[in-house]
Amino acid sequence: MAGWNSMAPYMRRYSIRILLFMASYVVILTASLSFARSGAAHGQATKIGLALITAFPVIGVFWAIFRLLVETDDEYQRFLFAKQTLFATAFTLVIVTVWQFLQVYDVVATGPQWMGVIWFAMLGLAGPIARWKA
């Protein structure tokens, strides 16, 4: 685990948090969907509870990313991370805006959905762009 040992402490904390939240997400999503689709009728409060429980690890990933910005003690790396999150936000807003108007003009049936997932995908895309020539 040479890579792990040479990793900055803030990156180690970030990696552990991301792994924990992603593992929690898989477990919670699987369990919640199994429960919701078990055939039994569920009340509105239960459904809201399931939605909040399933959203929790995704919100946790957002928290972990923004904690990374706070905890990075290397200011140039923090600048690059901040640039990456701003690029991801800008790309997501572009996609969502176009998608919204596609719905307005009846090109697609549904408007923007899964924006958190889109943002995560854009964060991945923004990484090499923010670090290009860095």
Partner: protein, 79 residues
């Protein structure tokens, strides 16, 4: 920042500071990684500062000055 006044408006262009990091490192036979370790930052950060892609904050500039045992203005130049 360099500003030029002309024809009723002021044009300002962001320019990075020049610095003597590469020369100072060479004098001490330090690699970028050696300096990065002394400063507690990544080698990529030292490279970005050295090549003028990134101007360090005042606290980091003071840390760099301490590592070289020089005044900030002996390392970072006005233009």
């Amino acid at each position: 920042m360099v500003c030029h006044a002309g024809s009723g408006r002021t044009d300002c262009a962001l320019e990075s500071m020049k610095n003597r990091l590469k020369v100072l490192r060479a004098e001490r036979d330090w690699s970028q990684q050696d300096l990065a370790d002394a400063l507690g930052v990544s080698r990529q950060s030292v490279n970005a500062i050295e090549t003028g892609k990134y101007d360090p904050s005042l606290p980091l500039a003071f840390r760099i000055a301490d590592v070289f045992d020089l005044a900030i203005e002996a390392i970072f130049l006005r233009d």
